[in-house]
C-alpha cells in the first residue's frame, strides 16, 4: 500500500514535470512566478532547455529508482516507521531536485539545494543502527555544507555586486567582471556535489552506506546536480574562457584516471561503483572543459562537440550507473555481502541480474554497441578535431587527454571484467548460508527498461542529439548551423555500425548453433593443468586480478597490509590472519594530514567553547558591542 502511494506520487510528479520539459526541448517556453512574500520576494520558476534536460534525467532515474526501491525495501517491511520516513524523504528529494533545476532565484535556490542535501542524507541514513553508515552520513553532511558555504559566498558576492539574487544577475555580473574568485567559488561548491578530485572523498563512503536504490539514484542524479550547476555557470563565463577551460579539462582528466584507478582495486563492489562515478564525472568534465576551450579559441564546432558529449554522458551515466547499482543491490539483497571475494558463480542462480550487470559493465567501459561508447566517441572526436588548431600547447594538451581517456577505458575494462568475473562467474568462493535466487519481477522491470533505453541510444544516437542541440542552442553563444549536423551524420554511421556488430554476432551465433546441433556435447571439470584436487579457494580472486595494475600505480592506490610476521619458533601450523586493503592518495596523503594540522591548531582555541553558558552569553554581548563600535566609526 505504502509503496503504491509512493509510486503513484513519484510517477505523477514525473509526468507533470516531464511534459513541460519536453515542451521546452521542442521549442516552447515555460515560466511561472510565485510570490514568496516579504522575505523571499517574487520567485521565478523557469524551465529552459538545460533544466529540461536534467529534469528528464531526474525523472527517468527517480521513477526507476522508486519502482526498484519498492521491491528492494520489501525485505525491511517490519520497520514501518523508518520506511514511512524513508519514502517521504524520497518524494521530497525528487521534488527538491526538480525545483533546483527550475528555480532562478539565488537565495531560494540555496534553500532548496539544502533541502535536497538533507533529504538525501536521510535516505542514506536508513541503516542508522550501523556505525559505518552514521560515519558516512556525517562525512556527507559536513562536506555538503562546505559546498553550500562556498555557494552562499558566491551568491552573496553577486548579490552585493549587482543588487539582485536572480540568475540573470549572475550572467550580467560574469559578463562585466573577470571575477575569477566568484567562478572558483561556484565551481568549488558545485564541484563537491559532483565529486571532482580532490573534492570526491564523500562519494566512496556515502554510496556503499546507502540502500542500493538510493545509491543508484544518488550516483545517477545527485552528483549530476553539481554538473548542472557547473554548466549554468560555465556557459556564462565570458572572460579568459580558454584558461578556465584548460584548467577544467586538466582537473577532469585527473579525476577520470584517478577515479577509475581507485575503482579497479576495491573489492567492495558498491565502493568500486562509487569510484567509477568519479571517473564518469571526470569524463563529463572533459566535455565541459573542451567546450570552454572551443569557446575560448572561437571554434563553435568544438564547443558543440564538448557540450553534447557532456550532456549525453550525463544521461548515459545516469542510466548505466543506476542499472549497475540496482543489480548490485540484487546481489546484496540475496547474499548480504558487499565483498566480491565472498561471491562467485551467481550467474547460475541469478541469470537475469548477471546479464543486466554485464550489459551495464559493457556500457560503462564505453564499448559499442551500447550508449557509453557514444559519448566517449564524441569526446575523442573533439580531441581529434582540436589537432587542426594552430595552438601547439592545445594540441599537446589534447594528446595528453586522449592518452588519459584511452588508459581510463582500458582500466575500466579491467575493473569491470574483474567485478563481473568475480561476482557472477566461477564457483562460490565462500559459503553462503542460503541459496541465492533471482529477485522479483517488479525489481527487474526498471532494469529491462534501462537496458532498452541504453540500446536505443547506442543504435540511434543521432536522435538523442536533437534535444541535446536544442539545449546547446540555448547557451546563448551563437552556434552556426554548419557546426551542428556533421556530428549527427557521423553518429548515424556509428549507430549503424553498432547495429551491424549485433547482427554479425547474431549470425555467427546461429551458424555456430546450426553446426553444433548434431554434435556430442561433453562436460568435465575445468582443466586443472594436471592438478586433480582443485578447491574454490584456488580461483583467481578479485584482488589478485587487479594486483599487478595496483602495483604499477602504487603511488595512487596504496596497499596496506596487516599480518604478523612468522617468528622463528612458529614452525607449527596455526591459524593466522592476513588483511590487505587499499588507501587512496588524496585522502591519506593530502586531506587527512591537512585535517590533522587544522585540528591541532584548533586545539589552542578549545578554551572558547568551555561549556559554560555564561561565557556564551558574554560572547554574544561582545559581538553586539563590536557591531556598535564598528557602526559608530562608520566601518559598516
Amino acid at each position: 500500500m505504502r509503496s503504491f502511494f509512493l509510486l503513484l506520487f513519484v510517477a505523477l510528479t514525473a509526468v507533470i514535470t516531464t511534459i513541460p520539459a519536453i515542451g521546452v526541448l521542442l521549442g516552447n517556453d515555460f515560466s511561472l512566478t510565485i510570490n514568496g512574500g516579504e522575505t523571499l520576494g517574487p520567485m521565478l520558476l523557469q524551465i529552459d532547455p538545460l533544466s529540461a534536460w536534467f529534469m528528464i534525467i531526474i525523472n527517468i532515474t527517480l521513477v526507476n529508482g522508486a519502482i526498484y526501491g519498492s521491491g528492494y525495501m520489501n525485505a525491511y517491511e517490519n520497520r514501518r516507521q523508518d520506511l514511512n520516513l524513508h519514502w517521504f524523504m524520497f518524494v521530497l528529494f525528487h521534488i527538491s531536485m526538480l525545483l533546483v533545476c527550475m528555480l532562478r532565484n539565488g537565495f531560494v535556490f540555496l534553500i532548496v539545494w539544502e533541502i535536497m542535501t538533507l533529504s538525501s542524507l536521510m535516505l542514506v541514513l536508513f541503516d542508522h543502527d550501523k556505525a559505518n553508515t552514521l560515519k558516512a552520513g556525517l562525512n556527507y553532511l559536513v562536506q555538503m555544507h562546505l559546498g553550500v558555504a562556498f555557494l552562499s559566498i558566491a551568491f552573496i558576492w553577486v548579490f552585493v555586486a549587482t543588487g539582485s539574487v536572480g540568475f540573470n544577475s549572475i550572467t550580467i555580473f560574469l559578463q562585466n567582471n573577470k571575477a575569477y574568485w566568484v567562478i572558483a567559488l561556484f565551481f568549488l561548491g558545485f564541484g563537491i556535489k559532483a565529486g571532482f578530485v580532490p573534492l570526491h572523498t564523500w562519494l566512496p563512503y556515502a554510496h556503499p552506506a546507502a540502500p542500493s536504490h538510493v545509491s543508484g539514484v544518488m550516483s545517477g542524479v545527485i552528483v549530476k546536480m553539481g554538473i548542472y550547476g557547473i554548466l549554468r555557470i560555465a556557459t556564462q563565463i565570458s572572460h579568459h574562457v580558454l584558461t578556465i577551460g584548460v584548467l577544467f579539462l586538466l582537473i577532469s582528466a585527473v579525476t577520470t584516471l584517478y577515479g577509475i584507478l581507485n575503482a579497479s582495486v576495491h573489492r567492495d563492489f558498491k565502493k568500486m561503483l562509487a569510484f567509477c562515478t568519479t571517473e564518469n564525472i571526470g569524463i563529463v568534465g572533459m566535455g565541459i572543459g573542451m567546450a570552454l576551450i572551443g569557446k575560448g579559441i572561437e571554434k563553435p564546432s568544438l564547443m558543440v562537440l564538448g557540450y553534447s558529449a557532456a550532456l549525453l554522458h550525463t544521461l548515459n551515466h545516469s542510466l548505466y550507473k543506476s542499472l549497475l547499482f540496482f543489480s548490485a543491490g540484487n546481489v546484496y539483497l540475496k547474499t548480504h555481502t558487499r565483498n566480491m571475494e565472498n561471491l562467485g558463480g551467481l550467474i547460475r542462480h541469478m541469470p537475469h541480474t548477471a546479464l543486466i550487470f554485464l550489459i551495464g559493465a559493457l556500457a560503462i567501459s564505453g564499448l559499442p554497441p551500447l550508449n557509453g561508447f557514444i559519448s566517449k566517441f564524441l569526446i575523442y572526436s573533439g580531441f581529434i578535431e582540436t589537432f587542426q588548431s594552430k595552438n601547439t600547447g592545445l594540441i599537446a594538451l589534447m594528446i595528453l587527454c586522449t592518452t588519459i581517456l584511452s588508459m581510463a577505458g582500458g582500466v575500466s575494462m579491467l575493473t569491470f571484467t574483474k567485478a563481473f568475473g568475480t561476482i557472477f562467474l566461477g564457483v562460490p568462493r565462500a559459503d553462503i548460508h542460503r541459496q541465492p535466487g533471482e529477485v522479483a519481477f517488479l525489481m527487474r522491470l526498471p532494469l529491462y527498461f534501462i537496458v532498452l533505453l541504453m540500446l536505443a541510444i547506442g543504435i540511434l544516437p543521432q536522435l538523442v542529439l536533437i534535444p541535446v542541440y536544442s539545449v546547446i542552442e540555448s547557451f546563448g553563444s551563437v552556434v552556426p548551423a554548419h557546426a551542428l549536423p556533421t556530428a549527427g551524420e557521423t553518429l548515424t554511421l556509428v549507430g549503424r555500425s553498432s547495429l551491424l556488430l549485433i547482427a554479425l554476432v547474431a549470425v555467427l551465433l546461429m551458424i555456430r548453433k546450426a553446426i553444433g546441433r548434431d554434435r556430442i556435447l561433453n562436460t568435465s571439470p575445468t582443466w586443472g593443468c594436471g592438478y586433480v584436487a582443485p578447491k574454490p579457494a584456488m580461483q583467481y580472486t578479485g584482488k589478485s586480478f587487479s594486483k599487478s595494475l595496483a602495483k604499477l600505480f602504487g603511488f595512487i592506490t596504496m596497499e596496506n597490509k596487516k599480518y604478523d610476521e612468522l617468528e622463528k619458533a612458529s614452525v607449527f601450523p596455526a591459524p593466522r590472519s592476513y588483511a590487505s586493503y587499499y588507501l587512496e592518495f588524496f585522502e591519506t596523503r593530502i586531506i587527512e594530514p591537512l585535517v590533522r594540522r587544522f585540528l591541532g591548531l584548533f586545539n589552542y582555541f578549545t578554551f572558547i567553547h568551555n561549556g559554560k553558558i555564561q561565557f556564551y552569553v558574554l560572547y554574544g554581548f561582545f559581538f553586539v558591542l563590536l557591531l556598535i563600535i564598528l557602526s559608530f566609526i562608520n566601518i559598516i
Binding site: S365, S381, S406, M407, L425, G426, R496, R512, F545
Partner: protein, 304 residues
Amino acid sequence: MRVLSLVLILLTSLFFTGIIIRTKSILSGRKGPGIMQPMKDILRSLRKSSVFSETTSLIFQLAPTVYLATILMAILFIPFGNDKGVISFNGDFVFFAYVLALGKFFMIIAALDTGSSFEGMGASREALYSMLVEPAFFILMGSFALLTGYTSFAGIFGALHFGSYISYGIGILASFVFITIALIENSRLPVDDPKTHLELTMVHEVMILDNSGFDLGLILYATNLKFAMYGAIIANFFLTPGYEWYYSIPIFTAVQLVFAVIVGTIESFSARFRMNHNPQFILMFTSISLLIFLGVLLMTGKII
C-alpha cells in the same frame, strides 16, 4: 571496390601463421610443417565436438563467437590505399579500437568463467597489457590525424604521401610501433610465448585452455585474422597513391609477407621477457609514439 581490403585480408589470413611457422622452422634448421598446416589444424578443430567445463556458463559459449565477430567488424574499417573500407566515418579508428576491446572483454570474462586459477592469471595479464597498449595506438592515430588533417582510416591513409625525409622516418617508426602492437595484441614474443609449456608463464594460451572443438577453431582463426588485419594497416603506409591495383596488390602482399617473416624472425631469436618487465616494454611504445607525435609537430611546422 570497398570490399577489396576485406577480401585481401581474409585471403592473407589463410597463410599468415603458416608463414611465421615456416620462417621459424627454416631459421632453426628444421624441416617444419607446410604453410597450410595452421589452417588445417583450425579446420580440424572446427569439425570436432566440444568439451565444456562444468563450471562454465553461457558466457563461455558466447565469447569465442563475439571475439571473432568483433575482429571481422574491425576489419571492415581497414581501407586499401585510396579505396575506403566497407565502413568509414570520421573518427572510425576510435570505433576500431573499442570494438576490439569488446572482443577482449568477452575473452577475459570467458577465462574467468572456468574458475581456474591459471586462466584467471592469464585474463588479468591480458587486461593489463591491453590497457597499456591502448595509448600507443591512440597517440599514433592522433599523430596521423594531425599530419593529414583527416580523422578516418581511409582519409588518413589516402592522404599519406611521402614527401620529406622526416616522413619516411615517421613511416618506418610507425610500422615498427604497429608491428609491436600486433605482437602484443596477438600475444606473441617477446611479451608472451605461444609455444611455452608452462601455464604460469602464459598469457593468451592459458586463457583458452578450456576451449575446445568449434570454439577453439574460431579463436585460432581469429588470431590469424588479427595478424592479417594489422598487416593490412602496416601495408597501407606503403601503398602508392591512386588506384593502380597492379602496384598496390603486390605491395600489399609483399608487406604482409615481410611482416610475417619479421614476426617469425623475432620469435626465432628472442626470448620472452620476465612478466614484470612487460609493462615497461609496452609503455616504451607509448613513448615511441610520442616521438612520432613530436616528429609530426615538427613536420607541420607547429614547433620550430
